[in-house]
């Protein structure tokens, strides 16, 4: 194709797409915030684009190594940990990294019977999936009536087969695990390891640190909390930070500084190996680096305003028919919240999916729905610090309007969306073996 044809083809595609640059993308636990263009510009500059990874290996690209070193240092300070690797190319890769560190740690100790990973029922699906990839059995820990880890159940589950616990805090309900020091103590008393899922760090960054709560491993998503773009599903960028006693297990190369101020790459002695072919996603690191510089110690503002925004939204929907806020209504949610549309579904037949599609019709991206699994007709929403007052107010109004329609003319919502480039798609046809079509080539052989 000629250049102009390609440009038009993809320009049209972008016009049928929707990102943070178009409006709120308030997906819970996904932390879709503004991706600063100043960073985009450096990422795309030839200064960075033309750096072959061997320049890092030769250690001639001292400036890049220094940038990575600084970032490691800052992430340590933010998380309260002692060492970091920047190799994981995404959050889930960071989870796997944590899981394998746990595995190797116990193997090195000869503690080989520890094959269970404890995971709360409100956890992201990637936690049990990562646990499985590390060869662990996932043991589900139920939530208590406050939506928090059930301490009794936790105590009952912990044994000498327990390798670790994977936890996000604030949890996916937006609730802070206030007994967190007790939780980590229970694990530590049993010599098990606690892994922090960084998906929700945005709600507490600069306010509290996983390291201070007793976590041993922390994985971060540079493309969530630290403003790297999500790119419609990647590339992301991860980081894993650990307490001193796990430092030697980190994968990849750690950037270190010698006595002459020269930066060099260090392979750790008990390293789990590599989780990526190179040193990590440098573009994501650049975003994180610029993001941190832009805030400095004011970084608490990120948690402050993301939490403010989400609680403001909750207040706007307080008392609206058909919606409930499961678990302690009075407790502020940290940066995200889960509402239940169960009553609405029961009373009108309109599901939370119908509401989501109606939001699309009004030019807004929908929140995460049907997750976490412990809430029926879950509507999991997170407004980051980069969302505006006006949009949050409008968003709440559209939700209220949807509910009004649900109670007056429910079939209208079943039709949604009508303003998008296609209407509701046939998932059965898409997934059925007889009609499946994952490429133009499929079925032609």
């Amino acid at each position: 194709m000629s250049e102009i044809e390609v440009v038009r083809h993809y320009t049209r595609f972008t016009e049928e797409s929707y990102g943070v640059d178009n409006g709120p993308v308030p997906l819970g636990s996904c932390t879709m915030k503004y991706n600063p263009r100043i960073a985009t510009n450096y990422v795309n500059s030839e200064y960075l684009a033309n750096i072959h990874p061997s320049l890092l290996k030769f250690e001639t690209a001292q400036n890049i190594l220094k940038l990575m070193y600084q970032l490691q240092e800052w992430l340590k300070e933010i998380t309260g940990m002692d060492a970091c690797t920047l190799q994981p190319p995404a959050g889930a890769s960071g989870e796997l990294t944590g899981v394998l560190i746990i595995k190797k740690y116990f193997q090195e100790r000869g503690d080989t019977q520890r094959d269970e990973m404890l995971i709360p029922d409100s956890a992201h699906g990637s936690n049990p999936a990562s646990s499985s990839m590390g060869g662990f059995k996932s043991v589900r820990i139920p939530s208590d009536e406050h939506g928090l880890v059930n301490l009794e159940a936790l105590r009952a589950s912990v044994s000498n087969k327990t390798a670790g616990l994977m936890l996000t805090n604030p949890n996916t309900l937006g609730l802070f695990e206030k007994n967190i020091t007790e939780v980590t103590k229970i694990l530590h008393e049993n010599e098990a390891i606690v892994h922090y899922d960084g998906a929700n760090l945005n709600g507490i960054i600069g306010i509290a640190r996983p390291g201070d709560m007793g976590f041993d491993i922390v994985h971060l998503n540079l493309h969530k909390t630290f403003s790297a773009p999500h790119g419609g599903g990647g590339p992301g960028a991860g980081a894993v930070c650990v307490k001193k006693y796990l430092e030697d297990y980190l994968p990849g190369y750690i950037v270190s500084k010698d006595d002459n101020g020269r930066y060099f790459l260090k392979k750790m002695s008990k390293s789990i190996g590599d989780v990526y072919s190179t040193y990590g996603n440098l573009p994501g690191m650049i975003y994180a680096y610029i993001f941190i510089l832009s805030y400095g110690s004011d970084i608490y503002k990120v948690a402050k305003y993301s939490t403010l925004n989400t609680n403001f939204f909750i207040s706007l929907l307080k008392g609206v028919k058909g919606i409930t806020l499961p678990y302690d209504e009075k407790t502020p949610r940290l940066h995200e919240t889960v509402l239940s549309f169960k009553k609405l579904a029961e009373e009108t037949g309109v599901t939370v999916e119908d509401v989501a599609k109606y939001l699309l019709d009004n030019g807004f991206y929908a929140p995460t729905i049907y997750f976490p699994l412990i809430v029926d007709e879950a509507f999991m929403i997170e407004f980051t610090e980069t969302e505006s007052y006006e949009n949050i107010v409008k968003y709440a109004e559209v939700v209220k309007k949807a509910i009004e329609i649900a109670y007056t003319n429910p079939s209208e919502l079943k039709q949604a969306p009508i303003n998008t480039s296609v209407r509701r798609l046939d998932a059965v046809k898409a997934n059925h073996p007889s009609t499946l079509k994952p490429s133009v080539k499929f079925g032609r052989k």
């Binding site: 178009n22 030769f58 300070e77 995404a90 699906g125 640190r209 039709q415 994952p438 490429s439």
Partner: protein, 452 residues
């Protein structure tokens, strides 16, 4: 800086309105659920401590990036998982349009048709290139894609053994090993004829004896040779009940019999060679595809986009077979992968369309031709390529005593990056960005420092 430019509500007036609506007096009250003893009591020592404004950020970043002299693409000859390839500016522009760059994974299909179509086209273009029916929407990189292909094989064939070609990049071996460690699975290496790079009786013997779940075949070899015996190898692999996992650099395929046609069950590749920037090694693009087989499909990791129709019968696209994935299937998922590399997949599809069929072929021929010249340049300086009798594509590996020291000397003296250093060998590559003069310079630099 009192108000932060990236926080729209960062002003007293709005803050107070919002706090009032919430029904609290002070923003600290939002965080009362955090026990006092674990709240941060100090200011974090990060960044420049005080916030930097945009002008200061630009100044700082310029200092940081300028510390590194620019190396022109054509002065880079380093091989390995990443190599110098040409990135069209028009592609950079298109993937950086905000609607793509700042989008989430397209869960809400109706408002994300453009992104979904772009990914569907990527899947289709790769399927054509590899001659295979199903290619997913992208993995992190070639290494993790190989690792996931290995796990996929094990899920199907159950034997916790994977055989790999000895000429795989070390970086890939390391990643596969890490993933296999999680499954307590083992890695077996098989070898080739030292001169020709072709398979030998021993190669077959090893596979026959070990019966690995999957056999990873590099075609062309990561060390360069285009093995004529690849088809034969795949047939042997099938004979002993293993799955054939073929890793192919997609830039080579327009002039080779594609791995699908050779009978591969699973295909893997690294998309960087189709024109992604090197960016210090990230981000990359893992290509992963399978032949049309129910078992393989049910066990495929990663996102998959499919065609369907909407409520009006109009054609549309959505993510399919999500029941394989972590957010639905949790501990039984085919992988934990969530955020992959959508944007890079789209970039690669754009490049493929820009080149077109003929353009891609010309490009592959140019790489082949340049590799030949590169090999001659090495030979001229008394350096012998491993598998010297083979026809090399893009990469060439060769022994050097101290590649780190010698490489640094070349960089210093000649301002070219001659190879990627490994313990006692090096890998150089020639691509479409090089021309005769560039390779002459390479020859001069190699001769000046390494001549034997």
């Amino acid at each position: 800086m009192k108000y932060h430019p990236w926080i729209p509500n960062d002003n007293e007036e709005l803050l107070n309105i919002m706090l009032k609506t919430i029904g609290i007096n002070n923003w600290d009250e939002l965080f009362t659920s955090i026990p006092e003893e674990i709240k941060l009591k100090k200011k974090l020592k990060i960044g420049a401590e005080r916030p930097l404004n945009t002008i200061e950020l630009e100044k700082h970043m310029k200092e940081v990036v300028r510390a590194q002299n620019i190396v022109d693409l054509e002065r880079v000859f380093s091989g390995g998982p990443v190599a110098p390839h040409f990135v069209p500016q028009v592609t950079t522009y298109l993937i950086n349009r905000g609607e793509f760059l700042t989008a989430y994974t397209p869960y809400q299909a109706e408002i994300s048709q453009g992104l979904l179509k772009a990914l569907y086209e990527y899947q289709s273009l790769m399927a054509i290139l590899y001659d295979i029916e199903i290619v997913n929407a992208g993995m992190y990189d070639g290494g993790t894609a190989l690792a996931e292909a290995s796990l996929l094989s094990i899920r199907i064939k159950k034997n916790k053994k994977i055989a790999i070609s000895s000429t795989l990049f070390e970086e890939y071996k390391s990643v596969i090993k890490t993933y296999l460690y999680g499954q307590n699975a083992t890695l077996i290496e098989y070898d080739f004829d030292k001169d020709t790079g072709e398979i030998t009786g021993e190669t077959i013997e090893k596979i026959k004896n070990e019966k690995p779940s999957g056999v990873i075949i590099d075609y062309p070899s990561n060390f360069g040779p285009i093995r004529k015996s690849t088809k034969e190898l795949i047939e042997e692999v099938h004979k002993y009940g293993s799955l054939a996992i073929t890793f192919s650099d997609p830039s080579s395929l327009p002039i080779l019999t594609p791995p699908g046609e050779l009978g591969s069950d699973i295909i893997v590749g690294e998309g960087q060679s189709l024109g992604l920037p090197m960016s210090g090694g990230g981000s990359l693009l893992g290509i992963l595809g399978i032949k049309n087989d129910k078992e393989l499909l049910r066990n495929l990791p990663g996102r998959l986009i499919g065609e369907t129709v909407d409520a009006d019968g109009k054609k549309g696209y959505m993510m399919i077979l999500q029941t394989r994935e972590q957010h639905i299937r949790r501990e039984k998922a085919t992988s934990n992968i969530t955020t992959a590399t959508t944007l890079n997949a789209i970039a690669v599809a754009i490049n493929v369309l820009l080149y077109g069929e003929k353009g891609l072929k010309t490009r592959a021929e140019k790489i082949l031709e340049n590799t030949k010249m590169l090999k001659q340049a090495l030979e001229k300086n008394g350096i012998e390529a491993s598998y010297k009798k083979a026809l090399h594509f893009k990469n060439i590996s060769y022994k050097i005593d101290d590649p780190f020291t010698e490489g640094r000397e070349i960089i210093e003296k000649y301002k070219i990056i001659p190879f990627t250093p490994y313990q006692n060998y090096a890998i150089s590559s020639a691509t479409e960005v090089h021309n005769n003069e560039d390779i002459s310079l390479f020859s001069e630099a190699i001769g000046g420092v390494l001549r034997k």
